[in-house]
Subunit: 268 residues, 2 copies
């Protein structure tokens, strides 16, 4: 049987815990062949980002075309897109592709580094959200995209998801992790159905670098393997929970999750 293939479009994290590195590792652990189009290269470790080099927008187009012109990609994820030009190139590259597209509107890293230039939010709203099968903002990103202020309880999150649906995605997943009372609780609202709170056990670790990227990548891997959206999100939450349970306490800041935990479990 041919393998499922997924493509991630995003930034490179030299530290290997987030960005396209987290995505490719997640795809591999879920037995999906991972391809990537790099939008920018960060010098980054568990403490933060020290340098960012954007690629030319034409490079992103060329990368996506090289991949999708040759390989039967089954699902696509976007991560760090950095600026308006890169968002425009990504949107143009994705436009002709009739595939499940997960848009993770990456704006600020867990360590607090800004990952998106300020004038780029409108480009997200206009060009990418309408193409999305699913968008996966955290509370901060949901607010910046237009989900309303005061996102500090479950009811406000549900209202925000309804507001974000109006921007065009087929479904919205708002991640509650930024709020102590909602840790491990995410709200999924599809256009064509009822909203659902999905709960996983909140793992007590400071080493969460890349957990947002990893969740989105695991959902994308599930969709590439043909899982329905709800099941893909549930399986992805279980994968992230396992990664956090085995999180890597390395570096002076927030360490990454363990992306190879299926191998640990397989070997007992």
């Amino acid at each position: 049987m041919p393998p499922a293939i997924a493509l991630t479009i995003g930034g490179s994290d030299s530290g290997g815990g987030a960005g396209i590195q987290a995505d490719l590792k997640t795809f591999l652990a879920l037995q999906v062949h991972g391809c990537s189009a790099i939008t920018c290269v960060t010098a980054q470790n568990t403490c933060g980002v020290t340098r960012v080099d954007p690629l030319p927008p034409a490079s992103v187009l060329a990368q996506v075309e090289a991949v999708c012109g040759d390989l039967p990609v089954a699902a696509i994820k976007t991560g760090m897109l950095l600026n308006r030009g890169l968002i425009e190139a990504t949107a143009a590259a994705l436009e002709p592709l009739a595939l499940p597209k997960l848009i993770d509107p990456v704006m600020v890293s867990r360590a607090g580094s800004p990952l998106l230039e300020a004038d780029a939010i409108e480009a997200y709203r206009q060009l990418l959200l309408p193409q999305a099968e699913l968008i996966t903002p955290n509370l901060h990103e949901a607010r910046l995209l237009g989900g309303g202020d005061g996102l500090d309880d479950a009811a406000a999150v549900e209202r925000a998801a309804a507001l974000l649906l109006e921007l065009g995605p087929a479904a919205v997943l708002i991640k509650g992790g930024g709020l102590p009372s909602l840790r491990g609780h995410d709200y999924l609202l599809p256009r064509d159905g009822a909203g659902t709170w999905l709960r996983s056990i909140a793992v007590d670790t400071p080493h969460t670098h890349g957990s947002g990227c990893t969740l989105g990548a695991a959902i994308t891997a599930g969709r590439a393997r043909g899982l329905p959206l709800l099941e893909a999100v549930q399986a992805a939450k279980a994968y992230v929970e396992g990664g956090l349970r085995h999180a890597l306490a390395i570096g002076a800041g927030q360490g990454p999750l363990c992306h190879w935990h299926p191998l640990l479990e397989a070997h007992g």
Copy 2:
């Protein structure tokens, strides 16, 4: 126990079969946390390379410093370095690091695309080979680095390894794969011991994209985990053999090996 950590310095292959993607996938499959410093971004698929964007040399330095200034990296590999400026930056970044360094002198892809500018070979010889614990040229690269012409039998390979040792690495592994009579046979010559022919079963598949990167990455993972060099090479050859046995027949050209085969074997 903290995980072993390895760093790869090289090019990005959007198709995901070679370059830093192959390296990071290999590290993950061998339960090593992978970090990366990207030297250039290629638009590439199973048929070849359609575009190359080099990063500024200062970006490579910043990426290596961000990683090695924060994380206890235990072994380093270099792959596609593209041009003289990137080789110089890589050599300068590696110079202060007293770690096992594997230099894979990538020059031409398996699909025939040139991956190194012509004037850069001398920079390899002067700046990188003397720092190497191990260099891993194929027959073509061994010839270009100064291993002599007529590399068409085992005796010539053994002579070439001795010539390349004089350039300063602590050991040389010449990969015989380019010659039908030497498929799966590699010659390891350490400075302080006898040469050994290492043999694996030659897997009959056209889908070998990234097998050179993968072998080097698997050796680097073994060294990061503390294996002696000979054992690391033997284990790496077994990993590549498994990857080729499960190779992915995707794309119109040479598909990649399967990097997740330890998961297949674990699950039976």
